[in-house]
């Protein structure tokens, strides 16, 4: 996160630290093999369609709905994760209490669990006859097999991202900063919103972006709880699978390419906001 050359666009001057050439070469090769080649394969495959066909798939009502559901639910889930992730990280960083280590370890569980398992477990819990669902159903709240169920699944899989990106930054904030704020007459509210949060903003944004990106691409946990009804709760990754089931590889890659472009654009925007806020407020900038 450090080691940014001060805001100007230029290559680094030769450094006393050796190995730049080799490290960059390795980086580029590695990135090319793992990311660029597979992704350009995607582009090549979908280009076989031609623009007209590509657009007709992209602008198909069903595709649009699926994309809206995927990006919409991922966005909501990422926001929820951002809010509760900050609170979780705060508790873990600032307080000592019995069982803290256990809770700390629990945060990572969604990383380790196969997402399909999470999906099945959540669907079982929130189904109308599930442990939680049976109490919600009489209230007229339906979670499983609606877009709300997708949000629940995405909150689950995205939880560790915010906590784990915010936590180290939070640990760096000196208590004195808050004490200084207090001595200068800030109330608790002001301390949180004017002193603490601005400094955490870049990390929170990173966590948000990661949780969001994960949510957009999530498949396993979602299809079990979504209900998968076209136009209603059908996510874009499922639509890709459906196209594959039809042996329609070109259409599948086209939807994948659209998701890729959208995701990349959004991540880029989030990155720009993030670097702006890091320059403006950030710790370790």
């Amino acid at each position: 996160m450090k080691a940014h050359s001060p805001t100007r666009w230029r290559f680094k001057r030769p450094s006393v630290i050796p190995g730049f050439g080799m490290a960059l070469g390795l980086t580029l090769t590695w990135l090319t093999l793992l990311i660029l080649i597979p992704l350009s394969g995607l582009a090549v495959r979908s280009s076989a369609l031609g623009w007209e066909k590509f657009w007709s798939i992209a602008l198909d009502q069903r595709t649009l709905n699926a994309l809206r559901i995927s990006f919409g639910t991922a966005f909501i889930a990422a926001i929820v994760n951002a809010v509760f992730g900050i609170i979780l990280a705060w508790v873990l960083v600032r307080y000592r209490f019995p069982g803290k280590r256990v809770i700390d370890a629990m945060v990572d569980l969604p990383f380790a669990l196969p997402t399909a398992v999470a999906g099945i477990a959540l669907a079982t819990l929130y189904a109308p006859n599930g442990w939680i669902g049976q109490f919600l159903t009489p209230l007229g709240i339906k979670i499983a097999f609606t877009p709300a169920g997708i949000v629940v699944a995405l909150i689950f899989v995205g939880l560790p991202f915010v906590v784990r990106t915010v936590q180290p930054i939070m640990e760096e904030i000196d208590k004195e900063v808050e004490e200084a704020a207090a001595t200068l007459g800030a109330n608790r509210f002001q301390t949180i919103f004017r002193v603490l949060l601005p400094g955490l903003a870049p990390a929170v944004l990173t966590g948000f972006a990661l949780a969001f990106a994960r949510g957009v691409g999530e498949y396993g946990s979602v299809i079990f709880i979504a209900g998968n009804l076209p136009f209603k709760s059908e996510i874009a990754p499922l639509l890709i699978v459906i196209k594959l089931e039809e042996y329609n590889y070109a259409a599948a890659t086209a939807i994948a390419a659209i998701m890729l472009i959208l995701s990349f654009t959004m991540l880029l925007v989030i990155n720009l906001i993030q670097s702006w806020s890091r320059r403006r407020y950030g710790y370790g900038a």
Partner: protein
């Protein structure tokens, strides 16, 4: 291309995974067969593989290890296309085997003629599973579109079983309306509005109905319905056989390209032929598949199958015309799917 190599790698990983789960045989076998099948045949092939291995040992003295890979029929076909080294495929739909034949050339185009009965050793049909006592009074297809009935079926886009469900409903409605296609389409469209969840596969739909308690009726493979009944106790569900349904033909084929490479043709052929033997037919009937030679099976097993009128896929002009017409991109399913608001 790199992506293809990657998929192949992935397929290999998947295969390794299914080996780990699917095989219970000794570590060093003389021959190894990989049967790539669809979801609800797990129990059938577990039994059948053991029987065949014993027979092969007795007849030829060789030990044969049979590995079984199960999953959604279309996904399984895709794995084979992407390089999964299947010796034989036993899938839910003709179209899936056709897809392998077309994409890889590893299966000859006339594969259907290689084994008896259009390469279909057993058939099944589509029946209803309802909750005990049949509280909604569901007797036949017409009852499925009554106001308060919820129907569970998987997504025909991703599930072979769901396509049979769809066509069974269509065939019933067409026949009930004196062959009127428009009315059939109207009925199936209405039926889909009664579906609250579209799972991606038949097993998922069964779970939704049985475990999650969703819906009043599950459209299911007959064998799957009986299995649910057997597994979960007959005190919770009962099977309603409609007056009219469709004969579901899950076909089989040898993947020539692979058996020739691996030198397993002889055992692969014996394996599939064994499905047609009296023992094979008996095992199929035991697992609630309708054998094509009912006389070979245990009469008690055959007695479990109620008689009903069955349409066949030929009434739709075969899968070659039914698949694109109903389930292809922009096909009937896409046109009539109007989600319940």
């Amino acid at each position: 291309m790199q992506t293809q190599r990657f998929t192949r790698l992935l397929a290999a990983a998947v295969m390794a995974g299914s080996f780990a789960i699917g095989s219970i045989a000794p570590a060093f076998a003389d021959q190894t067969l990989l049967n790539v099948s669809y979801d609800p045949t797990r129990e059938l092939y577990k039994d059948f593989n053991a029987a065949f291995a014993a027979k092969w040992q007795k007849d030829s003295g060789e030990t044969v290890t049979i590995q079984a890979s199960h999953g959604g029929s279309g996904a399984q076909a895709r794995s084979v296309i992407d390089g999964l080294d299947a010796d034989v495929v036993t899938l839910a739909l003709e179209g899936d085997i056709d897809a392998i034949a077309k994409a890889t050339g590893k299966i000859p185009a006339d594969w259907k003629t290689k084994f008896p009965n259009n390469s279909t050793p057993y058939t099944s049909t589509i029946v209803f599973l309802v909750r005990k006592g049949n509280p909604k009074g569901i007797k036949d297809w017409g009852d499925l579109v009554k106001d308060d009935v919820q129907v569970i079926t998987p997504n025909p886009k991703t599930s072979g079983g769901a396509r049979w469900n769809f066509l069974a409903a269509w065939a019933w409605a067409k026949q009930a309306n004196g062959g009127d296609e428009a009315k059939a389409q109207d009925y199936v469209g209405k039926l889909l509005q009664h579906v609250p969840v579209l799972d991606t596969g038949a097993r998922g739909a069964t779970t939704t109905f049985v475990q999650r308690g969703l819906g009043d009726v599950l459209l299911a493979w007959e064998n799957e319905a009986y299995l649910s009944l057997e597994e979960l106790g007959p005190d919770q569900f009962e099977i309603v056989t409609p007056s009219f349904s469709i004969r579901a033909d899950p076909p089989i084929a040898i993947v020539d390209g692979n058996v020739d490479k691996k030198g397993t043709r002889k055992v692969a052929e014996a394996y599939l032929n064994y499905l047609y033997s009296d023992e094979g037919q008996k095992i199929a009937a035991k697992h609630y598949y309708r054998p094509i030679k009912p006389e070979a099976a245990d009469p008690a097993d055959i007695a479990r199958f109620p008689k009903l009128t069955l349409a066949t896929i030929d009434d739709f002009g075969g899968w070659k015309s039914a698949q694109p017409k109903f389930f292809g991109d922009g096909g009937v399913f896409d046109q009539i799917y109007k989600p319940a608001q």
